[in-house]
């Protein structure tokens, strides 16, 4: 009889330890952080890399006859990532972080830039136009309305970046409009630089700064999902801020 009682107790223990093996019920979900990462790394950060490429390429055009001086300039920007064989009069590419910049085929002013970062894991490269405003200031735009993935998302970017400061590129204006339409769930995210304090250290010797060190990006999400918040950048972290408070995130 005692054996049966022991066995029944053992089986009951096994049965009770079954049930829930995993649950993420207690995990803290933060869709704002997910959206910030998605929008920032896919559509905002490429603007900074384009500004660096454009700043180098524009200065390079003035000295391109002097190969040695040109290569020194390239190394001062891109360090060990620079490969001299990839530097031509009409075209320059540097990977993995920046991409390709070239003179427009039509012979017009400015440059065409294709950042190394593809759009959201789709291996779709986005083509940006760079207009030189003078005094190392660049207007960066793109419109993807004729992209192959226009069926479910589109992107429009307009930014003006001033690279004349010795320490950091200063964003004078930044407007990113991202639209998606998944099974008629339409969402528009508009990301703008709030004020003129958004600045990102320029790449130097191949070292890049992924995030701004000062300034605020404002996120306005409308459609199926509605949300509004700011991302306030500091030197070592950033804060996601709304009317109810803020949450700090390490960079």
């Amino acid at each position: 009889m005692r054996k049966i009682i022991y066995a029944a107790a053992a089986f009951s223990a096994v049965f009770l330890t079954g049930c829930v093996m995993y649950s993420d019920e207690d995990e803290v979900e933060n869709p704002r952080l997910d959206v910030t990462d998605m929008i920032y790394f896919n559509y905002v950060e490429p603007v900074f890399r384009i500004a660096e490429l454009a700043d180098f390429f524009d200065r390079y055009q003035e000295i391109r006859e002097d190969r040695e001086q040109a290569e020194d300039l390239a190394r001062s920007y891109f360090g060990e990532h620079f490969i001299s064989e990839d530097l031509y009069y009409e075209e320059f590419s540097v990977y993995p972080m920046w991409g390709k910049i070239l003179l427009p085929a039509s012979g017009g002013e400015g440059y065409v830039c294709i950042p190394a970062r593809t759009r959201q894991w789709d291996n779709l490269y986005t083509e940006y136009s760079v207009k030189v405003l003078g005094d190392r200031c660049y207007e960066i735009t793109c419109d993807t309305s004729d992209d192959p993935d226009k069926l479910w998302k589109s992107l429009s970017v307009h930014a003006v970046v001033d690279c004349n400061s010795p320490d950091a590129a200063r964003v004078e204006t930044l407007d990113v409009v991202y639209e998606e339409n998944v099974d008629n769930d339409k969402v528009t995210a508009v990301v703008t630089s709030a004020g003129d304090g958004l600045s990102v250290p320029m790449c130097k010797d191949g070292n890049v700064s992924q995030y701004p060190v000062t300034g605020v990006l404002h996120f306005e999400i409308t459609g199926t999902v509605t949300d509004s918040f700011d991302v306030d950048y500091g030197s070592s972290d950033f804060e996601i801020v709304d009317d109810n408070g803020s949450e700090s995130v390490d960079k």
């Binding site: 053992a10 829930v20 995993y22 019920e25 979900e29 869709p31 894991w121 998606e180 998944v182 995210a189």
Partner: protein
């Protein structure tokens, strides 16, 4: 070194003086038949990952999980994975005191449930259930009437009660239950008892991972 040799020689000669007479063990009582019922805490198929046959929620579809709407949707839910543990019934035929063959049937099931964070209501669920017939060879390396220790290895076929497999035929698609090869290795098992016995095994495989224990009857 040379002076130690006589001491060692003396000690070797003196061993028989202190050794006890070997106790005669009772003759081994070989029972040919065994029935057993067992349970394991960590099911094997769950441990190696269920292949849930259908999409449980919209977030898992492309391109929804790349979208802002999908990210907010994902954050608004949580999931729970539940299992039944593994339960087995077996019959064993002991050919000799060392070698035995077992035929067993095991069951395990699991559910993946999604809930709303807002009100904890269940939004969707997917489930897997497996029946696994298995043939196991068992080798006993310690045989006493009360305690036996053994190792075993088994091979079988897990049949899914929920997933289906499609094959193309001349008349169209044919639907059949999804099947998987099943293997179970038990390096160490111990059973205690005579006719009615309890046992505990440590093993790894698609029946269970970790420990398994049960009760049985041999005759």
């Amino acid at each position: 070194m040379r002076r130690f040799i006589p001491i060692i020689f003396f000690m070797m000669l003196s061993f028989p003086l202190f050794s006890r007479e070997r106790k005669e063990l009772p003759p081994y009582d070989l029972k040919k038949h065994e029935f057993a019922f067992s349970g394991a805490i960590y099911p094997g198929r769950y441990a190696f990952g269920y292949d849930f046959d259908f999409i449980v929620r919209r977030y898992d579809t492309y391109p929804y999980y790349y979208s802002i709407a999908g990210l907010y949707d994902d954050a608004s839910t949580y999931n729970k994975e539940k299992v039944t543990n593994t339960w087995s019934l077996s019959y064993t035929y002991n050919f000799t005191r060392v070698f035995a063959l077992s035929a067993s049937v095991s069951y395990e099931g699991g559910w993946n449930e999604y809930y709303s964070r807002a009100d904890n209501s269940k939004l969707s669920v997917t489930e897997c259930h497996y029946i696994t017939p298995m043939l196991t060879a068992r080798f006993s390396w310690l045989n006493r009437n009360l305690v036996r220790m053994y190792s075993s290895v088994g091979v079988g076929m897990a049949v899914s009660l929920t997933d289906v497999h499609y094959t193309s035929t001349a008349t169209g698609w044919k639907e059949s239950p999804d099947t998987h090869i099943s293997l179970q290795v038990t390096p160490v098992g111990i059973s205690v008892g005579r006719n009615l016995f309890g046992f505990f095994e440590l093993g790894v495989g698609t029946i269970y991972v970790g420990g398994c224990f049960g009760i049985g009857y041999r005759f």
